[in-house]
């Protein structure tokens, strides 16, 4: 996955867990929490979807790396490098 695809993958997961949120206007550098409503239950879902779809494990101490789309890409980029993007699953 390229960096853009990682961001697409995260957005697709957020769209799955938060179908009523508007995601087109998300700013990459701003904290996701400040732009759409995501609480700790939702971050647990993002982590579980990453595991389910891509087999990526995110340990609890790294949850903070998922704060913004840009930080997600920084953190997950190396882990997802050789994995294909799956959207709409």
């Amino acid at each position: 996955m390229t960096r853009d695809e990682v961001i697409l993958a995260i957005k697709d997961i957020i769209e799955t867990i938060a179908p009523d949120e508007e995601l087109d206007s998300l700013n990459q550098d701003e904290r996701l929490r400040d732009q759409i409503e995501l609480d700790s239950m939702d971050f647990l879902d993002i982590v579980m979807e990453l595991r389910k779809r891509y087999g990526v494990q995110v340990p609890e101490e790294d949850y903070k790396e998922l704060a913004s789309l840009a930080s997600c890409a920084d953190y997950l980029g190396p882990k997802l490098e050789s994995i294909e993007l799956k959207v709409g699953v």
Binding site: I17, E37, M41, D42, L44, D45, K52, P59
Partner: protein
């Protein structure tokens, strides 16, 4: 409902899940039944915690997110208004907080300041810090409100919609309910509880969850030594044994411990059993309550004196308390397709032992006493809402005996045990409680209970 919600969460993350239901219908305390071609709802008067699509930080939004259900799938119709009606005063409220505030200001002008401070305290109340279950609402209310009548009027709806404690309600539950009523609001899923239950069942099955009806659990199987025991499975009423890594029970604390047997069953105290149950009479009419009586309230909470007495009535000639109650008019919620017939539901506090004893005896006597109790309660309620009986085309009524038979809750205690198990744990590893005895209230609360127990004990990465 807590079980279905937990099942959806678990199946969503590829756990193998089996839901066992003793009856041929699902839903537990929020269910429905068919009589003479009509569908009667049980439980649901109002879906509290109503919030419009996308409202942040509220239970309904969290619930939809967790179950991946769209707001529009619930087809919620908002209430027009509801009311708290006492002989000397009536307070209306709607899904706009301003109406309730202006009603308080009109009726109790000197209490407005205290009421707003109370509202602020409740809004600051952090639902994530472990609450103090022994702190009761009347004590806290007295710090904000001086007028005894206003305290009674604020207590009445909260007790009826969630208290397992005679005469009072735990402060944290009052705070949660207060928000769910006045800051959020009331709505009704179009078509009642059935479409909502069907939506949950469909979602659960699509995710691969298995649901077995008419499969009651007789025993919870355990293993280990006396100082560390685990629940490892269940034995069904038909003798079949099933084994699992975890068991989540929505049967209530007492019944769940009874299923574990031995010292667990013996440890259940009388104080672990709820006391409060209800009779309900449903009247179907050939005109709507608005047509025959100009009645616009979705819910009317009434009390016929200035003091509200919330407890199981003494086993008198009626087995119910006619002095206070709740009247629900499903017609008075917005709906895309308005209900063709008029519906009114009348809920009264009832004495469970009295109705159980009657039900164990002569069937005709039970039925005639039930009819007599309905008539007495309708007479009483007619002082606060139009009497539907001249327009009646159908009627049904149920008692604490009926509730106990279908929900398994001892004494038909709708709000379960007075003592709640907020973290859902039990003395057995692998066995967790959800639903009414875990402390969350209402349809939304029941589902959130199942979700939070599944998240916390089954889905956290450490689990």
């Amino acid at each position: 409902m807590s079980g279905l919600a937990a099942g959806i969460r678990l199946a969503q993350y590829d756990k193998r899940v089996l839901i066992l239901e003793r009856h041929y219908l699902w839903g537990g305390l929020n269910s429905f039944y068919k009589r003479r071609g009509r569908i009667f709802d049980v439980g649901l008067h109002a879906l509290t915690n109503y919030a419009p699509k996308g409202r942040r930080g509220v239970p309904l939004t969290k619930l939809l997110r967790q179950l991946r259900i769209r707001h529009s799938d619930l087809q919620l119709g908002e209430q027009r208004y509801s009311e708290i009606s006492f002989p000397s005063e009536r307070l209306r409220f709607s899904n706009e907080f301003e109406l309730f505030q202006s009603e308080i200001e009109r009726a109790f002008p000197t209490e407005l300041d205290g009421f707003l401070r109370l509202t602020q305290a409740i809004s600051d109340y952090d639902s994530f810090t472990p609450p103090d279950p022994d702190l009761l609402a009347r004590k806290v209310l007295a710090e904000y409100i001086g007028e005894p009548l206003l305290i009674e009027m604020l207590m009445l709806p909260m007790c009826y919609y969630g208290s397992a404690i005679p005469g009072d309600i735990a402060w944290y539950q009052f705070a949660i309910l207060f928000k769910s009523f006045y800051d959020e609001g009331f709505a009704r899923p179009e078509g009642g509880i059935r479409p909502l239950l069907n939506l949950l069942v469909k979602r659960y099955k699509e995710l691969g969850g298995e649901l077995r009806m008419k499969s009651g659990v007789a025993n919870i199987l355990r293993t280990g030594s006396a100082d560390f025991e685990s629940a490892i499975g269940v034995r069904l009423d038909n003798g079949e044994e099933l084994f699992a890594n975890q068991i989540l029970s929505s049967a209530g604390y007492g019944p769940t411990m009874a299923m574990c047997g031995g010292a667990y069953a013996d440890s259940v105290q009388d104080s672990d059993r709820g006391q409060l149950s209800f009779n309900e009479t449903v009247i179907v009419t050939n005109k709507t309550p608005a047509e025959f009586g100009g009645h616009g309230a979705a819910i009317t909470f009434f009390n016929d004196s200035d003091v509200f007495d919330y407890r199981a009535p003494a086993p008198g000639a009626l087995g119910i308390d006619v002095r206070s109650g709740v009247i629900c008019s499903p017609n008075n919620y917005d709906a895309k397709v308005p209900l063709a017939e008029g519906w009114m539901r009348f809920t009264a506090l009832a004495n469970a032992e009295y109705w159980e004893a009657l039900a164990a005896g002569d069937r005709d006597k039970y039925e005639s006493t039930k009819h007599g109790a309905s008539e007495a309660f309708l007479d009483s309620a007619a002082r606060f809402a139009p009497d539907p009986r001249p327009f009646e085309i159908d009627r049904d009524a149920f008692t604490p005996h009926t509730i106990r038979r279908f929900s398994g809750h001892p004494r038909g205690a709708v709000y379960g045990a007075p003592k709640k198990r907020l973290d859902g744990t039990t003395d057995l590893a692998g066995l967790f409680l959800m639903g009414t005895d875990q402390g969350l209230l209402g349809v939304v609360g029941a589902m959130l209970s199942g979700i939070s127990i599944a998240n916390r004990h089954s889905l956290q990465p450490t689990a």
